[in-house]
């Protein structure tokens, strides 16, 4: 499978201030466990590659993706929700296997390190992972 690595901008929703919500607009979103300030949510990166490891762990699940950069395979750490959250979304510990072809969209780290926040994922043939019967 040809692997590619690309970076694309996404439409950023305009930041509107609701009357009565002044307390929240100045404070960055918080994930269930930590602030989301480390991720650039105005940018999406599509990683195409293979799964090196799927960590079904608390407080977050992680997919380690080997995506091909210009210089060869590069490992990315993709943060997801907790096992409880993933389970509710149809995921299970064996939904993703080592060696699976994967296309995963993430919001990347602001500091340029090879990591990001999970947005969506599909198999090499475009099938969403969560819709695959176990």
């Amino acid at each position: 499978m040809g692997m590619q690595y690309g970076r694309q901008s996404v439409r950023s929703k305009s930041k509107r201030c609701y009357a009565g919500l002044m307390a929240s607009v100045l404070i960055a979103p918080v994930l269930a466990h930590h602030s989301g300030a480390m991720f650039d949510e105005k940018v999406s990166v599509t990683l195409v590659g293979t799964v090196k490891e799927f960590q079904w762990t608390n407080p977050h699940c992680w997919i380690q993706v080997l995506a091909l950069d210009k210089s060869g395979p590069v490992e990315w750490s993709v943060e997801m929700g907790s096992p409880s959250q993933l389970f509710r979304g149809g995921w299970k510990p064996k939904t993703v296997h080592v060696g699976d072809a994967i296309v995963v969209v993430i919001h990347p780290m602001r500091d340029g390190t090879k990591g990001g926040l999970f947005v969506s994922a599909s198999r090499g043939d475009g099938t969403p992972f969560e819709s695959v019967p176990q």
Partner: protein, 263 residues
């Protein structure tokens, strides 16, 4: 003769058979109490939250904020409103705190508007709200009062006692730590140690719990703050799967910023 009867009565009551009878009577009374309590079994979660696979709000941040109650400005008096506005304007402090902000447990009342699932166990002596992150609210309904004097000190969840009015649980909470912000998304919003919380928790239909909350704080608020929290029955799963922050916490704060550590 009277003394003989008394001796016989004592012997009967203190004999194994007598004690068993007394215990059975106590169990019977407790079973009757149980029967009068509402059945709130199942899994519940704040209706404001719908988390996606990413662990982020499925409908987006703005949709979530429109539903959350605790991020709204409290009805502060002039002195506390000034402190609140000043904290909001200190963008450098906010940014620095946001850059390293991690949360594992929540204080009250934030816990009641958190994305964590919970179960409600209604016992005659207390009602337990058991959250998936391991936190538990104990609401004692055995007629006790809040501890007095030095037996009571501020804690993140405060001290809760309650009583039943029909099928509605009235919860009275005091002694909440004043240093705790109201919610992770309202980190500059505080209350004083005088804050007094009154909740009316009830089941409004088979799939909905409702918590009408009133906050009185004569030190910080100009008027009582009243709002309603709602919880939906979780139907996507049928058992509690506990969460924790220590098993594989790869997001660490290093040199003043959060980084992802290697697996």
């Amino acid at each position: 003769m009277r003394n003989s009867s008394l001796v016989v009565l004592i012997l009967v009551l203190t004999s194994p058979a007598g004690l068993a009878t007394e215990a059975a009577s106590g169990d019977s009374a407790r079973i009757s109490q149980f029967a009068r309590l509402p059945n709130w079994s199942g899994l519940w979660v704040s209706a404001a939250w719908s988390l996606g696979t990413s662990g982020r709000p499925a409908g987006g941040e703005e949709e979530l904020k429109a539903k959350l109650q605790l991020i709204r400005p409290p009805p502060y008096n002039a002195q506390w409103a000034a402190k609140y506005e000043a904290a909001l304007q200190d963008k450098a402090a906010l940014a620095a705190r946001t850059a390293t902000f991690k949360v594992c447990t929540r204080s009250f009342p934030a816990l009641m508007e958190a994305p964590q699932q919970f179960q409600v166990a209604t016992l005659p002596e207390e009602t337990l709200l058991i959250f998936e992150n391991g936190q538990v609210r104990h609401v004692y309904t055995d007629g006790r009062s809040h501890p007095a004097g030095d037996d009571l000190w501020p804690t993140p969840l405060g001290d809760s006692v309650g009583h039943w009015e029909g099928q509605t649980l009235i919860i009275d909470t005091v002694a909440r730590s004043a240093s705790e912000s109201l919610a992770p998304r309202a980190r500059v919003a505080l209350l004083s140690e005088d804050a007094h919380f009154t909740e009316r928790l009830r089941k409004v239909d088979a799939n909905t719990l409702e918590d009408e909350m009133r906050i009185d704080d004569p030190t910080a608020l100009a008027s009582p703050w009243i709002f309603t929290l709602r919880f939906r029955r979780v139907t996507e799963m049928n058992r509690m799967i506990s969460t924790n922050c220590v098993e594989n916490d790869r997001v660490q704060v290093i040199d003043g910023k959060m980084v992802i550590t290697n697996p």
